[in-house]
């Protein structure tokens, strides 16, 4: 996933990872979590990510970082140290004898999750709902364009002109004069209205 240059390929690979994790959740006897994983992650979140990738339409491939080349020997040495530490832990630390997990049929079901969520963990559940509300408000306020006044109308064909463009007498007056169409703006400027499709010429 991280070796892909195109972020769209990374996103598709990440969908595969999420579906595989959902399969692992099924084998771990957690069917509700598996369903939620497919619906929320592979469905909602990745659709949002792919939508943003295609909206921004960044097609240029990511270049291989050249400036990290001198750090590669250092990284190799540090990785060898890490591998040595892991081998030390694996071969010297005494392993606790593991008891095999018995087949659980009542733990991962939806009813037990719901009972736990609405009795013992009611406060985190409510805090989560407040968090989602804050996320909605934050996303709306972030994605809103802030450079237009809230009562501005953008009508196709309409023109907004400053008053000093219309008449030289007005001086530095920059009051906006709205017109309903391009032809009306042309009349205010003293120009001939542009004829549509060559009629009248």
């Amino acid at each position: 996933m991280v070796v892909q240059r195109n972020p769209l390929y990374s996103a598709i690979s990440l969908v595969g990872v999420f579906v595989s994790l959902a399969a692992l959740y099924v084998t771990l006897s957690a069917p509700f979590i598996a369903a939620v994983q497919v619906i929320i992650y592979a469905g909602a979140i990745m659709v949002l990510v792919i939508f943003v990738i295609m909206l921004l339409n960044v097609e240029d491939e990511e270049l291989r970082p050249r400036r990290l080349r001198f750090l590669v020997p250092t990284a190799i040495v540090l990785a060898m140290v890490l591998i040595a530490e892991v081998a030390f832990i694996l071969f010297t630390v005494q392993v606790t004898p593991s008891t095999p997990a018995s087949s659980a049929l009542s733990v991962g079901l939806t009813s037990s999750i719901g009972i736990g969520l609405f009795t013992d963990y009611l406060l985190p559940f409510e805090i989560t709902s407040v968090l989602l509300l804050m996320a909605i408000v934050g996303a709306m306020s972030l994605a809103r364009r802030g450079d237009l006044p809230p009562n501005a109308r953008v009508v196709p064909g309409a023109q907004v002109l400053a008053r000093d463009v219309l008449s030289p007498v007005a001086g530095e007056d920059l009051t906006a004069v709205e017109t309903e169409s391009t032809d009306e703006a042309a009349q205010l400027l003293g120009l001939e209205p542009r004829n549509r499709s060559g009629k009248g010429e």
């Binding site: 771990l28 990510v49 921004l56 991962g108 559940f125 989560t128």
Partner: protein, 101 residues
């Protein structure tokens, strides 16, 4: 052969490490965002594995809450990404190292 708990923990550690490496080496902000999602999923796998091992449903409740936080993070993060792209015309995090234009 019955799958052991340590296998799931090892897979979770591998996934988390891939996520960390991706956040470090990627420069596209959307790719970094997806690597963060991968790290959250690694933690979710650890929670579910321990929940199945100890026969306790609490871990799966935590997974539910983590998924909700991930959804909120996706909404706000993608809004921030769109705002960054609108102001700077790029998605490279090295190009947008200043908070103020």
């Amino acid at each position: 052969m019955e799958p052991q708990l340590s296998w799931y923990l090892a897979l979770s550690a591998i996934l988390f490490t891939i996520g960390v490496v991706g956040v470090i080496i990627k420069r596209n902000v959307i790719a970094m965002f997806m690597c963060i999602e991968l790290m959250l999923n690694a933690v979710n796998l650890t929670f579910v594995a321990f929940s199945s091992y100890f026969q306790d449903v609490t871990g799966q409740l935590f997974v539910f809450i983590v998924m909700t936080v991930a959804a909120a993070e996706a909404a706000v993060g993608l809004g921030i990404i769109i705002t960054i792209f609108r102001n700077r015309e790029t998605l490279d995090v090295d190009e947008s190292s200043n908070l103020k234009l």
